[in-house]
Amino acid sequence: MSDTLVDFDEVLTRYEPVIGLETHVELGTESKMFCGCSTTFGAEPNTQTCPVCLGLPGSLPVVNAEAIESTIRIGLALGCRIASWSRFARKNYFYPDIPKGFQTSQYDEPLCTAGHLDIELDGETYRVEIERVHIEEDTGKNLHVGGSTGRIHGADHSLVDYNRAGIPLVEIVTRPIPGAGAKAPELARAYVTELREILLALGVSEVRMEQGNLRSDVNTSLAPIGSLDWGTRTETKNVNSLRSVERSVRFEMRRQAAVLDAGERVVQETRHFHEDTGSTSSGRSKEEATDYRYFPEPDLVPIAPDEEWIEGLRAALPELPAARRARLKQEWGLSDTEMAWIVNAGALGLVSDTVAAGATPADARKWWLGELARRANDSGVELTELPVTPQQVAELAGLVTAGTVNDQLARQALDGVLAGEGGPAAVVESRGLAVMGDSDELVAAVEAAIEGNPDVADKVRGGKVQAIGALVGAVMKTTRGKADAATVKRMLEERLVSS
């Protein structure tokens, strides 16, 4: 991995990047694309297979209706034209994880074509054109045994599990995306992020990237600035995190610039992304690629959605993320920037759910982008992975509003919630975090502070009212923060300042 790299900013002084993405999404159907086997993740190897998805002689595929509808719904959400005539095709090649010796996919007659997705990035809108959305089947999984790293190279042999074989897979292909310049890596990431939001809103996939539900092949090319032609592209395969999408584009731009600077040609090839180093390495050269010998799948009949079917699906589409953001921004009275912070923090759903649970938009935003974001960051997890629900956050905000706790006590209550001690109210109760009222204990603490600090008390009595802060601090210290500072101040004033 001794690629020469050009500094990123320097790349942009000489080259214009063009990116493109092919994103594979495993649908969340109950059964596989062409048979009734379950799609549950994490089952014991080869327990979710049958004659069809094992490719046993004589078996035949039957299309999963839900998978077709999900594909059409994705197409509709991306503004695609839905084909009135669509067919499956066989993509023929030999590999142990494809049980039939071909992958059933779509070729020149995909279900959806010609859509687009608008991506907001730093106040600018980029229109990403969608070339096509088609449906195919996933492959099985190879496990490489005997090599030092579990990788294919150096392995002694491999083991195949067909549980994943035949799970419906939607492929979303963009047209080449020029014009993003320095923003190309971020745009690639923002596109996948937005696509993921749409898929979640549609409910067609769990889109768990760590389980491989969503994987992107990222195409990158560079052309000299001012050139009329686009450069030769590379395709970085199976990039499976948002961060990696961005890093892979960044790396390829820097690597390709070095190749071009040296007067060499970029090789059109597939590349692999390495999480640990943030780099890519060469795979098979596309110029030697297999001839896939596509032809229409004779075991399946065409899918021909009629207007009624398509319009029915269109009418049932949920509110899409962009529309939802616009609506919530207005409802919450936020600026573009404030809204962008929420979205970029991945907190839109959490804030929205917290508001729905009774918190004010301001409180919900404050908690999720403040204290909770800090804690997620400290423990290196996503906001959504924190063990606290929007309902609990709303409850906590409510306790503050009611004066039951102050901000500091609320943070202690949150500690308890995150530690699994129960809901906010329960933690306040069990940890005894409630603000002290005008209680005997507080009166005693106030009087002890006056007695213990006679000099300060005298100053206050003598008219130096601002000195009262030291007494408030003393009370807060003895009550370990449980007192309400404003109450303490009032009680001290009652005793020291003649009205």
Partner: protein, 515 residues
């Protein structure tokens, strides 16, 4: 019907009646066939797998159910044979190939399940050209099958094991599959009735695929009525086959019975010029053409209106077929890679997966299969697709159009089933083109997906000649009606069924020949 000889020469319909009437038990019938298989199949070579114990057990179960007074279907207890392309749960299934030697499938083909549910008794699995590629059954990886009429001759193919079994009295009837003629041509050269149903009317689920857009299973029987009965038993929509037609099972046996009454008044019959007609007799044996002409005359005598019909695109059926079928086969046979089932060769630790796959397929497939895989791979290749596979699919449309315009003028089209009678074993093995010519007449119906039946129409040089009747899609009943009329008229004229003549020819004289 008490002697073994009677049982093994009677029609399945008669056996069914005798079983229902209690004149025979299923065990008696089954044992009679098993005995004859034991005595004769060493010569004929019809079966790849026979499990006598399992057959007798199944027969006994039917007899017991009948004794208990259970409601049984008409076919209960009648034995049958399945071409080895049909997947049978727990029963070895090879499709005639070494690459599947020893494979015991974990599931039943839909038609096998239907025949099981109907109470039929599986005698065994019949020999075939490897993956159904061939017209003589000589491409079987396992054994030679001989024509019972003359054991030096081929039984046709690819369903040659089924044709030989039924003709030789080793099964009352059998299932074959037909991709370009593999039911009709072997039926023709062994004196049987064989019907290729409308594409989509019999489920393909569990038939080891050769060419998916052409494959159809159908009956191979001694009589037209038997064919109709067996066809009805396996036909009908199957949700496991996406190309299966969702419409009621056609009434076929009734059409056969009506047809046998011999009244064809008003039936319009078209004789296809391009299939052995004027100017198209090259490669056709005069004896075949003579028998076919006599059959046409018989139809006319029963009231049919006969005219010549030209279907010019039929001339291109052979090249179109030999592009489409190998193309689809090259893809269908890709799953035989030695990973999940079947043969694996050369896995000694020294070779990588690609090498093991290539060696497995090299050793597991015979020459004809390899030829077709290579041809099909070529025809689907980028740059050649449009000129070959794409063009062939369009030619298919032209052939369909010829049929469609013919149906404006006629109800059925007729032709010889095959240009020749059974040829001698080995005479065409090294000449694929000559072998392919045997399918000349059967290919148009395959490519258009329309139903076609072959019914015996006499002998030429002592060997059976087949008469083909083609009908519009879903009008399989017309095939049965016309075939039954012809069969009845010929049997009446002859004084006995054609198959009865077999006793005095091949099998009887060569029964004790070393196999």
């Amino acid at each position: 019907m008490t002697t073994t000889e009677n049982i093994t020469s009677s029609s399945a319909a008669d056996l069914s009646q005798a079983l229902q009437a209690g004149e025979l038990s299923s065990v008696e019938v089954t044992r009679a066939y098993l005995d004859r298989i034991a005595a004769t199949d060493g010569t004929i070579g019809a079966y790849l797998h026979v499990d006598a114990d399992a057959a007798l057990e199944a027969a006994g179960a039917v007899d017991a159910a009948r004794a208990r007074g259970e409601e049984l279907g008409p076919l209960a207890g009648v034995p049958m044979a399945l071409k080895d392309v049909v997947v049978t749960e727990g029963v070895p299934t090879t499709s005639g190939s070494k690459i599947l030697e020893g494979w015991r499938p974990p599931y039943d083909a839909t038609l096998a399940a239907r025949l099981k549910a109907a109470g039929t008794v599986l005698l065994g699995k019949t020999n075939m050209d490897e993956f159904a590629m061939g017209s003589s059954t000589e491409n079987s990886a396992y054994k030679v099958t001989r024509n019972p009429w003359d054991t030096d001759r081929i039984p046709g193919g690819s369903s040659g094991g089924s044709s030989a079994a039924v003709a030789a009295g080793l099964a009352p009837w059998a299932i074959g599959t037909d991709t370009g003629g593999s039911i009709r041509q072997p039926a023709a050269v062994t004196g049987l009735v064989g019907h290729k149903p409308t594409y989509g009317s019999v489920s393909r689920y569990g038939l080891i695929a050769f060419s998916s857009s052409l494959d159809q299973a159908g009956p191979m029987t001694r009589t037209v009525l038997d064919a109709a009965l067996l066809h009805e038993a396996v036909a009908g929509h199957d949700p496991l086959d996406s190309t299966s037609i969702d419409s009621p099972v056609p009434v076929l046996a009734e059409s056969a019975r009506r047809g046998a009454e011999g009244d064809l008044a008003g039936l319009r019959v078209g004789v296809v010029t391009e299939l052995g007609g004027d100017g198209h007799t090259d490669g056709y044996e005069p004896g075949v053409l003579a028998r076919v002409a006599e059959a046409v005359a018989l139809l006319e005598g029963m009231g049919a209106e006969v005219r010549q019909v030209s279907c010019p695109a039929f001339d291109l059926a052979l090249p179109a077929y030999y592009l489409i079928a190998p193309s689809e086969a090259s893809s269908n046979l890709a799953r035989f890679d030695g990973v999940r089932y079947g043969l694996r060769a050369g896995d000694d630790g020294s070779r990588d997966l690609d090498e093991v796959m290539a060696l497995t397929r090299e050793q597991g497939f015979g020459p004809e299969v390899k030829r077709r895989i290579i041809l099909g791979t070529y025809a689907l290749s980028s740059g050649y697709y449009d000129a070959y596979y794409g063009q062939a699919q369009k030619v298919r449309t032209l052939i369909t159009r010829d049929f469609t315009s013919a149906w404006d003028d006629v109800d059925v089209l007729v032709s010889p089933t095959s240009p020749t009678v059974a040829w001698t074993l080995g005479s065409r093995v090294d000449d694929p083109i000559a072998m392919y010519a045997a399918d000349l007449c059967t290919l148009p119906a395959s490519l258009a997906g329309v139903p076609a039946i072959s019914v015996p129409c006499g002998l030429s040089d002592g060997l059976p000649v087949g008469f083909q009747i083609m009908a519009p899609a879903l009008a399989d009943d017309r095939c049965y009606r016309v075939a039954a009329a012809l069969e009845a008229a010929q049997d009446a004229a002859r004084g006995h069924a054609l198959l009865a003549g077999i006793a005095t020819t091949g099998i009887a004289t060569k029964e004790n020949a070393p196999s």
